[in-house]
Symmetry: C2
Subunit: 348 residues, 2 copies
């Protein structure tokens, strides 16, 4: 049986790199019958290994690890420099120096090495596709491979690697868009549109991601053809999440979200705030250079509770997120999805 087929609850906890994802969150979701995920993005290999061990200590159930796929090209240093000048006002405001911009691939190969040597049940990929060599190594080690896509074109490319599932991310999703190339040609498909078009394009199990903040929406995604729903924002206020207090509070408010490059140099959806409004127009396509540059200021803002200088990643339905144990969130989403489907079947 596949991991998807074995789930007692069709809920995948989205990996939320940069803080919210924790071993405790992943383990709680897996224990509740869903599938928890660790976000390997921004972690050192050492920290990833520790987080995997910590998750295993909390649950004997399967869980997954998400990898960021590098492979872009370094940004124009002059564009990064110009944005650094714009951000000087933020340094002055907070008294924290900008980080040094640098280009890297998030130690992708080293993380694949670690996962091939000590495999987890599922490895998922975001921002692109692994090489066929990396895919083969992880599969040979016993991992299922799931790949994040946002369009039929990306789905066809991913399908050539024979993935066990495709995670279909709609434009309403919180955090970084999973687009393979972050430019003006990137897909703006919403989840329902992407599910329809990708379902027509490839024959691979689909997992729906983006804006699924309620059981009714999870049920909708399952009816639209997904085998399961990947839910991130709904767990942002979970007790086990590593979300900062300021972000927890902002997540509960009805403030709209926006797509912005102002925090990381890559398009991501977050709750609108001063930093976005001040800097989005000037932010270059420069990932992860801008991420590294703003990182110390964002860490400081999380510590001091300044929501106006935090990357408040969140999907469009964020205000529905509840402050509950992750197991309870998982069970409610699944029960409400079942009830919504049953009610619609009854009405028809």
């Amino acid at each position: 049986m596949s991991i998807l087929g074995d789930l007692t609850v069709p809920i995948i906890q989205a990996p939320m790199a940069g803080g919210p994802s924790t071993p405790a969150l992943a383990a709680a979701v897996s224990e509740a019958g869903g599938l928890g995920f660790l976000g390997a993005g921004y972690l050192t290999v050492q920290k990833l290994t520790e987080d995997i061990a910590a998750t295993r200590a909390l649950t004997g159930k399967p869980f997954g690890v998400n990898l960021f796929v590098g492979g872009g090209t370094p940004a124009d240093p002059a564009a990064v420099e110009a944005f650094a000048d714009r951000l000087a006002v933020e340094s002055a405001r907070s008294g924290v120096a900008l980080g040094t911009p640098r280009f890297d691939d998030d130690a992708f190969d080293a993380k694949v090495d670690a996962l091939a040597a000590d495999p987890v049940p599922v490895v998922s990929f975001t921002f692109g596709l692994p090489s066929s060599g990396a895919a083969q190594r992880l599969r040979a080690a016993g991992s299922e491979l799931w790949m994040t896509v946002t369009s039929p074109d990306e789905a066809r490319q991913a399908a050539a690697l024979e993935p066990d599932a495709l995670i279909v991310q709609g434009v309403e999703a919180g955090g970084h868009r999973g687009v393979f190339v972050d430019d003006e040609h990137a897909s703006d498909l919403t989840l329902l549109s992407a599910l329809q078009l990708i379902r027509a394009a490839v024959d691979v199990p689909l997992i729906a991601a983006g804006g699924l903040g309620s059981g009714a929406a999870v049920g909708a995604a399952l009816v639209a053809g997904a085998s399961a729903a990947q839910v991130g924002t709904a767990y942002l206020r979970a007790q086990e999440a590593g979300t900062s207090e300021a972000q927890r509070a902002a997540t509960a408010e009805p403030t709209p979200t926006v797509l912005t490059r102002a925090f990381s140099g890559r398009l991501a959806r977050g709750i609108t705030n001063r930093w976005h409004r001040t800097h989005a127009a000037d932010a270059p396509r420069a990932y992860p250079e801008v991420h590294y540059m703003t990182s110390p200021l964002r860490a400081h803002a999380r510590k001091t509770g300044d929501a106006d200088a935090i990357n408040l990643w969140a999907g469009q339905a964020h205000q529905l997120a509840e402050a509950l144990p992750a197991a309870e969130i998982t069970r409610r989403l699944a029960a409400d999805a079942r009830a919504a489907i049953a009610a619609a079947a009854e009405r028809l």
Copy 2:
């Protein structure tokens, strides 16, 4: 019983002003158990009255009429003039002179007068809300009132007028966005996100609109809390639709859609083409001034089959639209929705 409650098929044909909507299309959908709509936008009162009579001659079932709510303010003439200069190249290319830009409210009051004097079962509104006086007159005449909204804020404003239903339009929808104010603060909520947030905000029956190109997606919308689905693009290639041949052909292709002001001065979603790529960056917020200016060129392009100069309004899932009689499209969408819901209920 309400109109929604009486439908044997939970499918509303979206009004598609500017050509695709015809009495034959509206009548065919109503005859199939759904609800057909006439788009009153851009029509004279005389033509609207004729279209209503023509629809009545084809069906004894209920149908609806959609009104554009004016109420914006005239654009800066200098901005319109500057865009006219940009469009000179299109006049030169086609040999057709630009139309005269003008501001109007689409004869809203006169259309309300006509509908109050000779009512139809449903009147829906787009781009804003009717005055409470106009709403009262139409309701007193016996019409149900449905209002198009794109966000919880708009839904709360609409709910104050006690509508019989709210049409929740997601950003994936084809054609003009229904936003009350077409500016940078307008909602970018996708259909699933909007349904969740509006369901939590108001207690009014909801109709889902935007990107619903398959029965599975219609089923998803019903599970997400909608009482019915409003479907436009799925009928663009219907035999009874007034869609031009060039647009029918373009609709069947997998070309992406974009939001653009290049054709009308108001943000609308259409299939990307040369006109959009050339002029979108310069197009001002100036509706309906730009609509009138480009109208003769677009009419010419429809006649000559030049898809690169037509406003190819379409939702994101347009390539799924089938060339079939409207009754067959209606029945398939409903049957596939039922099947998708039953399959999901079975799996859980």
